[in-house]
Symmetry: C2
Subunit: 224 residues, 2 copies
């Protein structure tokens, strides 16, 4: 299933671009690669050879329950780092949601840097710590929110990450959103339609969301 990733032909800009910035004191060089839509970046239990940063596009990380059901753990947008592991194998899988440019830095470089430089070690710690916090928020959504609330929370979360907080171009399908929120495609779709009916959002197309009433979304997120 793992298709041959290939380096971009054009050497896009300077060397400084092809690196991951872990913080004020840790910038590591890597290689830029392009992954096509739905292409696997790495799989669970594969050797964790690289750490990744999204340059453009979007990436999903996920885990599968023993009988194959998929849980998406997070979406990663430009700037996000993913794929870091403490051990030497990946504990989750990653795929490109849309065509995505990604910078890959050898894990050994990160290890070496953080084994020599305390600031580097702290930068990695901050990264993981942030991931943990996000994962905990996600647990609250999955464990204690209804369908409408989950979708509202998802949209608000995305809105906070886009430059324009009202115009969202969703890179992911309804199926992705469903597997992220612990719902089905149909339920997600109905939630979108219902929000449109209530004029909280507009849906010029299925992948383009306009937030019409931010406050209404925040209400939905709490009780819907």
């Amino acid at each position: 299933m793992r298709s041959q990733p290939q380096k971009t032909t054009q050497p896009t800009c300077a060397a400084a671009q092809d690196s991951i910035d872990f913080g004020p004191s840790l910038t590591l060089r890597g290689v830029r690669m392009r992954f096509e839509r739905n292409e696997e970046i790495f799989g669970e239990s594969e050797a964790a050879e690289y750490v990744y940063r999204v340059v453009s596009g979007a990436v999903r990380t996920m885990r599968f329950s023993s009988d194959g059901r998929r849980q998406i753990l997070g979406f990663h947008l430009p700037g996000d780092v993913f794929g870091w592991e403490l051990g030497d194998t990946h504990t989750l899988s990653a795929e490109a949601v849309s065509a995505a440019d990604v910078i890959m830095v050898r894990r050994s470089l990160v290890e070496k840097a953080s084994a020599q430089d305390l600031q580097a070690a702290h930068a990695v710690l901050a990264l993981i710590s942030q991931s943990l916090n996000t994962a905990r928020d996600h647990a609250v959504v999955l464990g204690r929110k209804g369908a409408g609330e989950r979708v509202a929370a998802f949209l608000l979360q995305l809105a906070d990450r886009f430059v324009s907080r009202t115009e969202l171009d969703l890179p992911m399908s309804r199926a992705d959103i469903a597997d992220y929120l612990g719902l089905t495609i149909e339920t997600v779709s109905r939630a979108f339609s219902e929000m449109e009916r209530q004029c909280a959002i507009a849906l010029p197309s299925s992948r383009h969301v306009v937030v019409r009433n931010h406050a209404a979304l925040e209400d939905l997120q709490v009780a819907a």
Copy 2:
């Protein structure tokens, strides 16, 4: 709501006991305290002054959704470290599930140690990394499993942590289990009853579970 915690009167054993072992190269001294059942250990948005290790009893960490619904993020048993934060305030709350002895180490000590010693920094990283992995597993359970599967997964998870893998003394109530698994008390109770009916477990008392058929539980965990 925060009652006055009080140090245990008997100085139980040596100084080495009242410390947290983060790994081969980081052991920090602290103070031992006892918390009674349901006593708050720290609250969300309080200053994160200490890092904690469970000595005896059990602790729950949790977060609340904006309208007050409780999601338990984890149960912490003897040996577990909890309450670590990157920033200077807690991002979750902790309470004693049962009466619990806990060792508290000043966070500033951990900070100082991991800012001076690379092995110490790595020990903290390993700790957080493990928490992240656990949180991700939890997300799979919350997002993609049915009620019976959740309870089975919960029991197997606990069984792995007890000395006796077949005799479990649950320190937590059905309400705690429900809030951990994203279910209601009644649904959890029904799941237990159903497992007993299928002879996967026995319930001599509501808090004492005997695993009769480990394999059957593993099956339930996948499809029930």
